[in-house]
């Protein structure tokens, strides 16, 4: 039982890594990127290609893949998302969904249906573990993933709070027009945010490949997990992402103990339960903004709703 709980919590570390890019993009651009999971899988394929063809270790490979992901994010925002967001809130959903189909099938065309993994390229790290007092084992990779999640979230927090560029992104997230008045280029800030989000997606892809197997169509499930963790943890702070990831990881690990299909059912069920509870007891927003709650408009709307 203790073992299941520990594994569940550590699995949450991976979910936090894959979720932070999704909720970061949503909080800044108000866009949910439906190609999120597919892009993570694409990064995993990139690392796999470097490792299997050129013998580059996945960790070194990240030095190549992450800049490519950042550039992808920039281009994606400047040439696709920005344009489709001008046509209303619904179009980016369709654009990114179409993009996901293109990416998935291109990967299928290129790499075939075989499942791949980065585990063979990272030596003993994929199965090494530490023994805890009481005879439980924790995988070194899982601990590393959790540490990365914490470092990533902490790094984003510091970047958004302490750096001029980070503040520019926050200002754009809050109100792009007013940000423009004080000399912030909202388009640039958004593109930068997308680039940062894609870097985190690249890191998520690396851990996806190292801890498990993936195939060209793994992107859909990864998107769902990231979305679920974002909604569960959506208390309005970056750290909510970690909480959301851990709750999802726990629900899946416990579910798997109950039934062979319980892993997925447990995760989806806890997502719906949280959604249900939040909608009916607080009526609160689902994915909040970075580091601050939705204010103003939401409050006014709530006030209008409660007036008879």
């Amino acid at each position: 039982m203790i073992d299941t709980l520990i594994q569940g919590i550590l699995l949450g570390g991976y979910y936090a890594v894959i979720t932070c890019g999704l909720s970061f993009m949503f909080s800044v651009m108000r866009i949910i990127n439906l190609a999120h999971g597919s892009l993570a899988v694409a990064a995993a394929y990139g690392l796999w290609l470097l490792a299997s063809k050129f013998g580059i270790s996945p960790f070194t490979g990240l030095l190549i893949v992450l800049p490519v992901m950042a550039a992808t994010g920039w281009v994606l925002q400047r040439y696709l998302l920005e344009r489709s967001a001008r046509g209303g809130a619904l179009l980016p959903i369709l654009t990114t969904f179409g993009l996901a189909i293109v990416i998935d099938n291109l990967m299928f065309e290129q790499f075939g249906a075989d499942t791949r993994s980065l585990a063979p390229f990272i030596g003993s790290l994929s199965y090494d573990s530490w023994e805890l007092p009481g005879g439980t084992y924790v995988g070194k990779l899982a601990v590393m993933t959790m540490a990365t999640a914490i470092a990533l979230l902490g790094g984003l927090q510091v970047f958004l709070g302490r750096f001029a560029l980070g503040r520019a992104i926050r200002a754009t997230a809050e109100d792009p027009d007013t940000a423009g008045l004080v000399g912030i280029d909202a388009r640039k800030a958004n593109a930068l945010a997308a680039a940062i989000a894609m870097v985190t997606v690249g890191i998520a892809g690396a851990f996806l490949g190292m801890r498990a197997t993936f195939d060209p169509y793994s992107g859909g499930p990864q998107l769902l997990f990231a979305f679920e963790a974002a909604v569960i943890g959506g208390a309005g702070s970056l750290w909510g992402t970690l909480v959301g990831g851990i709750v999802l990881g726990l629900a899946q690990s416990l579910g798997a103990q109950v039934h062979p299909q319980g892993f997925l059912i447990g995760g989806h069920a806890v997502f719906l339960a949280v959604l249900f509870a939040r909608l009916f007891f607080t009526g609160a927003p689902f994915i909040g903004k970075i580091g601050f709650y939705k204010t103003g408009f939401t409050k006014i709307r709530a006030a209008i709703r409660s007036t008879p």
């Binding site: 949503f26 108000r30 866009i31 949910i32 439906l34 696709l80 344009r83 489709s84 046509g87 209303g88 809130a89 619904l90 179009l91 980016p92 959903i93 369709l94 654009t95 969904f97 179409g98 993009l99 996901a100 189909i101 293109v102 099938n105 291109l106 299928f108 065309e109 859909g220 499930p221 998107l223 769902l224 979305f227 679920e228 909604v231 039934h259 299909q261 997925l264 059912i265 989806h268 069920a269 997502f271 719906l272 959604l275 249900f276 909608l279 009916f280 689902f286 994915i287």
Partner: protein, 341 residues
């Protein structure tokens, strides 16, 4: 046509739209007698076309008119098929099971709507996908389905294959005509005015007293029912039920493609999109993965450059309305003001 002062008229039916309605009736009549002349392959293909039209029209009703983009509509497609299997297994006539299953699915969509409709935009879109993924897992738990191995609609075997093919064809044709008719009537009714107001501007619609949630719920349940009919009919033509195939997000991808290309929020657009999709599938479907890449890329291009689709473009260029669901104001003289733009 109502006459107002100064020669301004408000029109709904025009000469071209009366002509269009006549042609639709004629086309339906021709389709109805077509099996007398067509071979087995052609009948199966046309059945698929009718199912595509249903899917496109229902997704368009939800997204184009209700402003609810869902990437989880495959849940209703899968449930329509699943309940058909369940009911037929319980001894109900397989053809009756198709429609009973759709009714059950429509009824199930009502409680789902109570909390899904409180989500907005992308959250609703992916939230529906989660519902679909969970439902897929739960259906897999049913012993009758045997997990991903699946099962088939055995009770259809009592009919010989020729009769079966033609009956399913007629059922698909009748379902398509009925669902399009219901949607057309709904959009032209009082509720339709509310629906189109929501499509154009949700906040403005709320401010003039449109009951947004109730109206969206109506569309949500109608779409669930229609898509379940499509799923049940698809099961009847394919006979085998593998959960993975029916609960696949690919169905939603098809719906999005058809509606985006045809024209989001245009009644005629969804039909046009389904016909185009059918033609493209017929010619390029054998190209496998490149065909799917092409569909995805086309969807991206349309969402970026032609968000109102081909029909939106035709309507704008030629000022043409074949199956009008709105009104428009006609001023004396050459300029025409369009009512809903």
């Amino acid at each position: 046509m109502t006459s107002v002062t100064n020669g301004i008229t408000i029109e709904r039916w025009t000469r071209s739209s009366r002509l269009a309605l006549g042609s639709v009736a004629l086309a339906l009549a021709l389709f109805a007698i077509a099996p007398l002349a067509l071979g087995a392959g052609a009948i199966d293909r046309l059945t698929a076309l009718f199912i595509y039209v249903i899917l496109a029209a229902m997704w368009n009703a939800l997204a184009g008119f209700g402003g609810l983009v869902s990437v989880g509509q495959q849940v209703f497609f899968g449930l329509g098929a699943y309940f058909t299997i369940r009911l037929a297994d319980a001894g109900l006539n397989p053809f009756l099971s198709l429609f009973a299953a759709a009714l059950i699915t429509g009824a199930i969509s009502l409680p789902i709507s109570f909390f899904m409709l409180r989500l907005k935009g992308g959250e609703f879109a992916i939230g529906m996908w989660v519902i679909s993924a969970l439902t897929h897992m739960l259906v897999n738990l049913d012993r009758l389905i045997q997990g991903e191995t699946g099962t088939s609609l055995i009770s259809l075997n009592v009919y010989d294959s020729g009769t079966r093919r033609v009956v399913i064809y007629w059922l698909a044709l009748a379902s398509m005509a009925a669902l399009l008719g219901i949607l057309f009537a709904l959009l032209r009714s009082r509720a339709g005015a509310a629906i189109q107001a929501i499509r154009d501007n949700e906040d403005a619609a709320t401010s003039v007293g449109v009951r947004v949630i109730a109206t969206k719920r109506l569309l949500f349940v109608l779409a669930a029912f229609g898509i379940a009919v499509a799923g049940a009919l698809w099961l009847a033509t394919a006979t085998t039920f593998q959960p993975k195939t029916y609960f696949s997000v690919q169905w939603t991808a098809y719906m999005i493609f058809m509606v985006l290309v045809g024209g989001l929020g245009k009644f005629e657009g969804a039909i046009l999109g389904a016909v185009l999709f059918f033609v493209i599938e017929t010619f390029f479907g054998s190209m496998g993965v490149w065909y799917l890449i092409g569909l995805g890329a086309t969807a991206v291009v349309f969402s970026l450059f032609l968000p109102h689709g081909l029909w939106g473009e035709i309507e704008r260029r030629f000022d043409l309305r074949l199956l009008p669901v709105g009104y428009r104001l006609k001023l004396p003289g050459p300029t025409k003001i369009q009512w809903n733009q």
